[in-house]
């Protein structure tokens, strides 16, 4: 990399020294949380957490709560988290080689993870899929604690139908910005969304675009779709996560749309975040739904403890999801404010 000798060498040496210093100072084991921990002793048990990386706020809070809840039990949690689907497959294979007592995985690419899951079960290592379901081909081979994604889609549609009816509209056009369409999570949410909208045929989806769980892309697509249909052509919008719904609101405001109220754009989100809760309180976001990382992390940790303690929990559990609107936002403000 460096073509000159001494300054480059000095810089490289400095970088190495800084890295070593950082490594030495950081990475200390987190202290167990005070209270709320299970008294069950599972000392010596090991878990490989092949989950979402800490670069994602949802993943960061899930990892924090999950690890903290298991710390008092003595279970050792190996951090093998990432936000890259390819790296996740590699880390899962590494986890299989380490032969832990359980692999807990939050899947980024359902298809790519099917073969590694088969390898794990063939090696006799149990796998617990969390949040999104695994590939249907391996669904029978894993345990699961799943978000109720179909319900989350239903809640989003309920928010829109309720908001449009409250405005007295007997028709309305809706734009939808989805998460990555190839993900089962996205497909299940759209299934629930379509199911509820079918009961209110006066409201119809005029655009459905894949915004890939990307807030920046969501803003860009929203700007163009709102321009395409104009102020009279869109009455409601669904951003599959709050961080996708809020750019829709911002784009609409910049395009001169009224938001919420008696005749403004009805926007709904999902995966409740603090920014979404604040927006509901401000009267802009009509509603959202839970799927917050804290709740699912608590339920997953409890499931893991029961499983490792030999209590044979049910093969699959579904996390109870809640719809959040201005009517009940104060009840969910704390729960939804960690990501």
């Amino acid at each position: 990399m460096f073509r000159t000798g001494s300054p480059g060498t000095a810089l490289a040496a400095g970088t190495l020294a800084l890295t070593l210093l950082t490594t030495a100072c950081g990475g200390q084991a987190a202290a167990p949380p005070s209270g709320g921990a299970s008294a069950t002793s599972l000392s010596g048990k090991t878990i490989a957490l092949v989950g979402y990386g800490n670069s994602n706020p949802w993943g960061a809070y899930f990892n924090k709560v999950f690890t903290e809840r298991l710390a008092p039990t003595g279970v050792r949690v190996g951090d093998m988290t990432t936000m890259d689907p390819g790296t996740q497959v590699q880390k899962f294979n590494q986890a299989v080689a380490q032969k832990p007592d359980l692999i807990v995985t939050l899947i980024l690419d359902t298809t790519a993870m099917a073969v590694p899951i088969k390898k794990a079960t063939a090696a006799g290592i149990p796998v617990l899929a969390v949040d999104g379901p695994p590939d249907p081909g391996v669904a029978d081979e894993v345990m699961s604690v799943l978000s109720d994604n179909e319900k989350l889609g239903e809640y989003a549609a309920q928010n829109i139908v309720e908001g449009l009816k409250a405005q007295g509209r007997d028709s309305g056009d809706i734009i939808v910005l989805t998460g990555t369409k190839s993900m089962l999570v996205t497909q299940h949410r759209m299934k629930g969304f379509a199911k509820v909208l079918a009961t209110a045929p006066q409201y119809k989806v005029v655009e459905e675009q894949d915004a890939n769980w990307d807030p920046q892309l969501s803003g860009t697509i929203a700007q163009q779709l709102l321009a395409k249909h104009g102020k009279d052509g869109v009455q409601a919008a669904y951003g599959m996560a709050d961080y996708m719904a809020l750019p829709i609101i911002q784009a609409a405001k910049q395009a001169g749309f009224a938001i919420g109220g008696k005749d403004g754009l009805i926007v709904t989100g999902g995966n409740c975040f603090k920014a979404g809760i604040d927006s509901i309180k401000a009267g802009e976001l009509y509603g959202t739904a839970t799927e917050d990382p804290g709740t699912i992390a608590e339920q997953t940790a409890a499931y893991v403890v029961r499983y490792l303690a030999g209590e044979n929990p049910p093969r699959s559990e579904t996390v109870r999801e809640e719809r959040v609107t201005a009517a009940n936002v104060s009840r969910f403000a704390e729960q939804c404010s960690h990501a």
């Binding site: 990399m1 460096f2 073509r3 000159t4 300054p7 480059g8 810089l11 950081g26 990386g53 800490n54 670069s55 994602n56 706020p57 993943g59 960061a60 809070y61 990892n63 924090k64 936000m83 675009q209 894949d210 915004a211 890939n212 990307d214 807030p215 920046q216 892309l217 803003g219 860009t220 697509i221 700007q223 163009q224 779709l225 709102l226 321009a227 395409k228 104009g230 961080y243 809020l246 750019p247 911002q250 784009a251 405001k253 910049q254 395009a255 001169g256 975040f273 603090k274 920014a275 990501a339």
Partner: protein, 321 residues
């Protein structure tokens, strides 16, 4: 004999030029025909949307033009710098908008200029350095924030979401930055030296040009532009996560290349990069209006970049003959 040689030479010179012009015309036809035949394309609202969606990437790409002209290729740490700047802008909102702006701009300039210094004074490979820099900056941001979203304690930044005359403020900043960068490149000593350094770094050094200083200036200006993008991104999204920068790095590089700036340095202009950013936005818009998916939009963007790079290569080949 001479006449025949001249004629053959002229023919050789004109062949690549004809190919370049032909490709450019073909590209324009391929773009213009679908655009003008797309319903709702020729509306004021749509023009505003195109400019608005070009603004964030445009500001960064105009700054990146200077780095490319100065022969430093590209920065692969752009998204990470924009993300850190966004966090540093929203975090201290309680200190007031101007303080937060200064902190954010200073951070963007410092992070980018530091990389420019290593490249300019020690000849580090920009690709390798910025890959490492990107990992370091992104990792540090994740470490310090714990992956949490940064929320502002005050809403002074809302003023940056204003829409004077119906256009987002970011669009005006994009135009101002383009004029400033183009003026710097064309009318200042440092700007002209950037072309010379980019054309032939060894020769520039041998001629006594301040290669290191010129490179640092290019990267500092680029850092300021990335910082402005980070500030507008943060204001638009009202919060900042480690992934806020998204695909900014590659989008900005694509805009610079589509604008016709030579990746090897020495040629290019900020105005053409502005054209590149708007062109990409127009294409995405047409495809969206015609109902094509996001995947198709990305594919077409890739094909366009490839076509323009080939076009620029053909022109460069002509220049060498």
């Amino acid at each position: 004999m001479n006449t025949a040689d001249d004629s053959e030479g002229a023919s050789r010179r004109w062949r690549p030029r004809a190919v370049a012009v032909g490709l450019a015309v073909l590209l324009l036809v391929l773009l213009l025909v679908p655009a003008v035949t797309t319903p709702r394309f020729l509306t004021l609202d749509n023009a505003r949307a195109i400019l608005a969606s070009a603004a964030f990437v445009g500001i960064t790409s105009v700054g990146a033009t200077m780095v490319m002209i100065a022969g430093s290729g590209v920065s692969l740490a752009t998204s990470q710098i924009a993300t850190v700047v966004a966090m540093l802008f929203l975090g201290p909102q309680h200190l007031g908008l101007w303080t937060a702006l200064l902190i954010a701009l200073a951070a963007g300039i410092a992070l980018s200029a530091a990389q420019g210094a290593v490249i300019g004074f020690w000849n580090a490979d920009p690709i390798v350095l910025t890959i490492a820099g990107g990992f370091a900056i992104g990792g540090a941001a994740t470490w310090f924030s714990g992956g949490s979203t940064v929320y502002p304690a005050a809403r002074g930044f809302d003023v940056l979401n204003a829409t004077p005359l119906g256009l987002p403020l970011a669009v005006y900043v994009l135009l101002a930055v383009t004029v400033l960068v183009e003026g710097t490149l064309r009318r200042t000593t440092a700007g002209r030296q950037m072309y010379l350094v980019g054309e032939n770094r060894a020769a520039a050094r041998a001629a006594g040009l301040p290669v290191g200083r010129v490179t640092v200036i290019a990267w500092a200006v680029s850092g300021a532009c990335v910082a402005l993008t980070g500030i507008f991104l943060a204001s638009f999204h009202t919060s900042a996560t480690v992934t806020l920068g998204g695909t900014l790095t590659l989008d900005a590089i694509a805009a610079v290349l589509v604008g016709g700036t030579a990746i090897s340095g020495g040629h290019g202009s900020a105005v053409r990069t502005l054209g590149g950013a708007v062109l990409i936005s127009v294409i995405s818009d047409v495809l969206l209006l015609r109902g094509y998916s996001t995947g198709v939009q990305i594919l077409v963007k890739g094909v366009l970049v490839l076509a323009v790079v080939v076009l620029v290569h053909v022109r460069a080949t002509r220049g060498r003959r």
